[in-house]
């Protein structure tokens, strides 16, 4: 077997050092009645590299890939162009096959990357500090709600109806078990987000107000106004960013008053990957840093006085605090953080701004073209690279019929909100710098055909 270096001669020699007659003898502590004597049912014997590759290639071929068709899907996962350098660098074995940097003397590569990553995220979000990443945007969002509860000692979070429904569902699942109360605004298919309804829900028990920016329908809420209302009541503002590229052209949530900013970093460096692994981003005010979940990398010096980096403030973490830890998270999303950081380094502030401008430009052209299709209405007044439209009938059906014409034209709100009949005719449409004029023409043609 190609991954196993021991030969049978090695095995016998080693068994005689151990004083055992066979490998099976080493499993003597497994109760005899539970020991497997036959191979696992149905699993074939070992396979050649070629055979496995062939099998996986067949499965791969049975999908419509985003790059092969006109593609307008978003809702928390975006198709941006990732420079070749990113994937090349993250495949260096010294990054790919390293562990969590618990031995800093021989992990300065990973640690310096994390320090740079934290700084990039903090600057992008406009927060004082950031952590070394969490699993993904949805789990980061819940961790922020839990952290706000610890800081304010209050148990009622108010969520905007514009927060990604999977994020809301993840938080709702967790809250059911922790006893936190989530007060969620109903999603509405209207041009402006529900700022008044949201602010009306804030009271003296509110731990935090959770607002997505831009929101699930692409609308861009006035965070400064909500921050003011939340903070006046002693609550924190948590801003959720599922499309970090937007911050190339939008004011940062931190600069608008958000206390905690979380996000999904997938847009930069990571790729679509059918939903994971993705990258949870987490930044906040410095005064809350001892309540931050997950790993933190900090600067220090070594015994010779040279600058170096270590994982720090681990007294918050489960391996020290056990049942008193701030969170149970152990693994973060290190390699995705590396990919994000490399992509961001390649872009720089001007590159990110250009990428954002081109994405916005593509979205504008798409919205203008769709507005010309009879029966289609663009909902948003303002948006970055994603907006909602209403269609004359159930959008689930229309999305499927467009896919049959080899156009992935959007995400139906029925898929996202199966219980909300009022949203059934809605669809969200996203564009990026990858979107071409031909893609837009194909979308319009497919939609016209389906609606005819």
């Amino acid at each position: 077997m190609r991954y196993l270096p021991l030969t049978d001669a090695d095995r016998s020699a080693m068994l005689s050092v151990i004083g055992a007659g066979s490998i099976d003898e080493l499993f003597a502590d497994v109760p005899a009645e539970a020991r497997l004597t036959a191979p696992i049912s149905g699993l074939p014997k070992h396979a050649t590299e070629m055979a496995v590759e062939r099998h996986m290639a067949r499965l791969s071929a049975n999908n419509t890939t985003a790059g092969s068709v006109p593609f307008f899907l978003g809702a928390g996962a975006y198709r941006h162009h990732v420079p070749a350098t990113v994937d090349h660098m993250i495949q260096r074995g010294e990054f790919l096959t390293a562990y969590t940097p618990y031995q800093p003397e021989i992990a300065q590569g990973t640690l310096q990357v994390l320090f740079e990553f934290q700084t990039q995220v903090a600057r992008l979000f406009g927060t004082d500090v950031a952590n070394a990443s969490l699993y993904d945007g949805s789990t980061a969002c819940w961790e922020a709600i839990a952290m706000a509860g610890r800081i304010t000692k209050r148990g009622r979070a108010v969520l905007s109806g514009g927060v990604h429904p999977h994020y809301v569902e993840t938080a709702r699942t967790m809250a059911k078990f922790t006893g936190d109360v989530l007060d969620t605004c109903a999603p509405v298919l209207e041009a402006s987000a529900d700022e008044d309804a949201l602010i009306a829900k804030i009271d003296a028990q509110t731990s935090c107000v959770v607002v997505q920016y831009p929101d699930i329908l692409g609308r861009i809420p006035d965070l400064a106004r909500i921050a003011q209302a939340a903070q006046a009541a002693g609550a924190l503002l948590i801003a959720v960013v599922t499309e970090p590229v937007a911050l190339g052209v939008l004011q940062s949530p931190g600069s608008l008053g958000a206390d905690i900013v979380v996000g999904e970093g997938q847009s930069l460096g990571v790729g679509l990957q059918f939903g994971g692994p993705y990258l949870g981003l987490f930044g906040c005010r410095e005064k809350y840093l001892r309540q931050i979940p997950g790993r933190l990398c900090g600067e220090t010096v070594d015994a010779d006085g040279k600058r170096g980096f270590v994982l720090t403030l681990s007294t918050r973490e489960q391996h020290i605090r056990r049942e008193k830890a701030t969170s149970n998270i152990c693994t973060n999303s290190g390699l995705c953080a590396l990919a994000f950081s490399i992509h961001m380094t390649l872009l720089g502030g001007s590159g990110l701004s250009n990428m954002a401008r081109l994405s916005h430009h593509a979205a504008r052209k798409t919205a203008a073209a769709l507005a010309e299709v009879p029966g289609v209405t663009v909902v948003n007044n303002h948006y970055f690279n994603e907006f909602a439209v209403t269609l004359p009938r159930d959008a689930r059906q229309i999305v499927r019929e467009m896919a049959d014409r080899q156009v992935l034209g959007g995400i139906s709100l029925g898929r996202l909100y199966p219980q909300e009949d009022a949203l059934a005719n809605g669809m969200v449409v996203a564009a990026t710098e990858c979107t071409t004029d031909e893609d837009i023409a194909a979308l319009v043609a497919a939609l016209k055909e389906v609606l005819a």
Partner: protein
Amino acid sequence: MNAINPNGWRPSMGEGAPDNAIQTFTGNRALQLEEALIFELGDADRSGVDFPETGGIDMSALGPMARAERPELPGLSEPETVRHYTRLSRQNYAIDLGLFPLGSCTMKHNPRLDEKVARMPGFADVHPLQPVHTVQGALGVINELAHWLIELTGMHGVAMTPKAGAHGELCGLLCIRAALEAKGDPRDVILVPESAHGTNPATAAFAGFKVENIPATPDGRVDTAALIARLGPDVAGVMITNPNTCGLFERDLKTIADAVHAAGGYVYCDGANFNAIVGRVRPGDLGVDAMHINLHKTFSTPHGGGGPGSGPVVLSEALSPFGPLPFTARQADGSIKLIEEEQAHDEHPQAFGRMCAFHGQMGMYTRALAYILSHGADGLRQVSGDAVLNANYVLRSLEDVLDAPFGASGPCMHEALFSDDGFAEGFSTNDLAKGLIDEGYHPMTVYFPLVVHGAMLVEPTETESRAGLDQFIGAMRSLAERARAGDELLKSAPHLAPRRRLDETLAARKPKLVYKD
């Protein structure tokens, strides 16, 4: 013994030795290269990505939240970027460089086929919310992996979405909570052995349970009598790691499980060490109700410097109905159905909720499936066999120079546990660990499990050759002798790494988490 250095040449170590005496202008030491931060190298107007002209674009649809200035993020050209990350990568130790004996973390070779497969466009370039009929191959991967995970563990169902081991623990405990609530029998105590990984009590507390510790016996296993004595109407379940963190198989797990079930509770098994028993015993046959599988351990998806991981949770028949959404199931016509919130009401009504957005760690599923198919039934059995053989070889080759507290408890499983008993006054595990760095190895897991003084947990894994193990054993013997003799140079090790010991107290007292100009 020392095949890569037959002449026995040793680099000189310590203050005043010639290799430290030579000062260079750059601070570099030949191939050991210092590297500045991107904030010191780049600026926001430099970029390694070319875009079409964006000058004339009308940005008015952004509305009032538009920003006036580009963000203050440094950019680098492509050659500068490649050099920056290449130089940083060389300051890391990695499995690709050598044996990485980090106990309980399972640092084994990461097959490169798995990397190639994960990058196939049908897996890497599909959106999680595409219409289901356009992603049948991707769902097929999830379903096929789910099938083999169920077969390999002898369980009934599997929740695929948890994003890492600790996330899987949480998923398993939430299934237990949901099952108890469905029975109208709320219970709030989880029993955890004192040797457990720190995530176990943290997870139980996070899921709203009270944690009670169960003591260990002198031979390094759970005190079965104490555990059974504690069972009662308030105990929701137990969390047991098997093989346990002392590297031993919990012989009584079935007895414990039967007692827990009789008392109305459930058994959570921490599957972090499943790699030791895969293909040899199925947790389902031992009465386990829920177990997470770290795909990044047993099935060798890369650790990536700290994730991403993946922690699917296999479930017993009793807990399967409560598994979170999304849920995949094969239909009578062979197609694979994705059950999301939309269909859950009819087809998976007792799901306790959702662990995360989308479908979990697809990029890890493809790698793990390629790994399972490559090894096959015979190969996976050999994997656990060789992992256990290598660990026992290390245990028996070192127990005359290092204290092995459970060496008399029979064979170990996939990891060998030592203590610092016998070291000279003032010398501890950390000194030996830092000495290993100078010898060109990553240290083993240190000071864990907490039940052993100065614990050193060595997990060589099955992907090490005998010659490689002999080299490592030689280095360990040399270091053990130096620690017993009180060699002062060991106290200040490492001497030869890119950095000497780092001041962790300073880092925690004055946290500096971001770069400031």
